[in-house]
């Protein structure tokens, strides 16, 4: 990767018990992937507040990933189900606002899916590279009146 080419900033909110361990597994198996992702470890996707997605864009993220346990695997039995519900609604709001949903990714990645973690990060990084910097939200953050 050359320095001047655009490199997206990706913020990943992941749950401690499935996806975080999945990412660890990717490491243990030395599965290489782009260095663009910054992981924020949360106990559970149930803790994942929608404001955090906005916050990520405010600090200039070009894409956001939210990832947790597969349905039925939640360490806290139901956190991911609660999260899933909120995402369904939140996406709707963002669509209406004209926020580009290609910038937001939701996945279930288990502690055993190191490979999936690698693939997901590779794909998100690639697609975001193609989309380019998220000028849409950067404008919002810059434009003063």
């Amino acid at each position: 990767m050359s320095g001047d080419a655009f490199e997206p900033k990706i913020v990943a909110y992941v749950c401690n018990w499935c996806t975080y361990l999945g990412a660890d597994l990717a490491g243990t198996n030395r599965l290489e992937y782009p260095a663009n992702v910054r992981i924020v470890r949360l106990p559970c996707t149930g803790r994942m507040d929608f404001n955090l997605i906005i916050k990520a864009f405010e600090i200039g993220a070009d894409a956001v990933l939210v990832s947790g346990c597969h349905p039925g695997d939640c360490h806290y039995t139901a956190g991911n189900y609660h999260a899933r519900r909120r995402w369904i609604l939140f996406q709707e709001l963002l669509t209406t606002l004209g926020i580009d949903l290609h910038r937001i990714h939701f996945t279930w990645i288990s502690a055993a899916e190191g490979r999936k973690w690698q693939e997901v990060i590779q794909e998100i990084t690639e697609s975001t590279r193609e989309l380019g910097p998220y000028m849409g939200y950067r404008h919002i953050c810059e434009v003063q009146k």
Binding site: I39, P43, K55, R86
Partner: protein, 666 residues
Amino acid sequence: MARIGVFTCWCGENIARTVDVQHVAEALAAEPGVVCSLAFKYMCSEPGQSLLSRKIAEERLDGLVVASCSPHMHLRTFRKAAETAGLNPYLVEMANIREQCSWVHHDRKLATDKAIELVRMSVAKVRHNQPLNPIRVPIVRRALVIGGGVAGIQAALDIADAGYRVVLVEREPSIGGKMAGLSETFPTLDCSQCILTPRMVDVAQHPHITLHTYSEVESVEGYLGSFRVTVRKKARYVDIDRCTGCGECWTSCPSGKNASEFDFGLGRRKAIYVPFPQAVPARPVIDAKACLKLTRNRCGVCLKKCQAGAINFEDQDQMIEEEVGAIVVATGYELYDIKARDAGSSVSGYGEYGYGRYADVIDSLQFERLASASGPTGGKIERPSDGREPKTVVFVSCVGSRDRAKGIPYCSKICCMVNAKHTMLYRHKVHDGEAHVFYMDVRAGGKNYDEFVRRAIEQDGARYHRGRVSEILEQDGKLLVRGIDTLAAVPLTIAADMVVLANAMVPARGVQQLAQKLNVGYDEHGFLSESHPKLRPVETNAAGVFVCGACQGPKDIPESVAQASAAAGKVLVMFARDHLTREPEIACIDQRSCSGCFTCLQACPYQAISRQEITDRAGQVLRYAAQVNPGLCMGCGTCVAVCRSKSADLAGFSEQQVYGMVESLA
């Protein structure tokens, strides 16, 4: 101003190869609040840890970030190290620059830059860490066992024999469960009651066991170490303390036409009855639906006959409170009900087998009663329809089991052995009788199990046909069993006198509701979920609640007993500690700003949130606010996400900490 120490680990070459650790250390030294930033070869090693504690003392650190491997790997290690050095362990954070950086990137520059950002995030987080103390939970050294079948009995006796008090709750009027009704048991053919009833008596006489029969668990509150359980003692109309069990009442009771639950409808019982002679307690109960006194206010013979004055028609359900520290669930199984129709569909299982329409088509538990010496026929094999001795009996395996179409994909595990046993029992009693078995596969894994099946075939001449029964028809007093022998590839029609269906094993009715009260998960079939199939087979995800026996999955007697002892063992491990500790990283609610919408209460997966009155000095209720029960909260943070006023927060992952991390990426 914070005094944070940052320790970047080489992890030998593991990190240092791709991340310029020295550079990371220097970069972080410039961070506000960071008073010392070092790189070291092995932070987890003894010298690494002593470096840590030395710096804590020298630099009077109030926050620590170790940039090395995954927190799942060593967070505990470093928190311990901090604790020994006199720093609150929860002021330690890690930055994962190995699994999530050096091991997955090759470009040294990129990896180093990322590492720096990751460590910055952790620094930003640790700025807001609060010292926390593990929550100490006292233990009530008293166990509740739910279900008085063989598993429940075993668990109760094991715990009680260890010297702890046990409360045993059984739904039926007597303990004993399904096993008490069995005739003989495979693979040894020893009499079921002969081996079970002594243990039932042990339970009754054990000084440490409180027995609540004809009772059900109404509600469960509290948490690991101290549960508050409400037990509903159903109205029995007989004072079992006064009653002497003389039998005057049931011998004189005029209403004798009632189907006996214990004999699965094959036998009759009085309106006041003891389910079976060896029942524990050996005290009668009045069937309110059948009793003439209770239904039509006539009769009352038993009342007159009873010398002990134990009969009480005014009896009411009573609620009993029990304090326990651990709970063992052993609610067992029942047979898949062919006649039951699942909501919406008009289809009931196996209409083609005529169960419920043809009197002589029975299920395997009914056959057990026919074969049992204490059964309705005194152990003679007779057809329910006309009492004649059946000369040809067909046993059908996998009725429900392994039948995806009927929604039961699993194997019930015991039926193959049960069928083999039944053919033996039948042939031993009816020497000139024919026993046929239709099976899909014979699954006889277990000590002396396959030998047992071979014996049924080779010595006792059971005729095994590999294939399913397609339908059962009634024609002039015979049951035409139409099926196929797939090995011979010939359709068969057997004119039988009786058919025995080996129905699938399903969890006892009501177990789901119980599971919800206990916060224990269950699968789509209603079997309770253990927390790890291999390594935590009797634990559940609800701390302090254990499972054993067929409520967790199809099992035979030996397995149930073994699992029961395992569960008892786990309870004793708990009771051996002088107190329990729980992670302090849990939610709390700022009641000053809580607006009391109680969305959190609804969302909490652990019912850890309750309403609390907010009163003024005069004790006047001003409003209601949410409150977290630290004993129940597991720290998932769902409440934080749904709280609109952001009054809920989660220690260890507080809003301040998380926002701090994200903002550090700006």
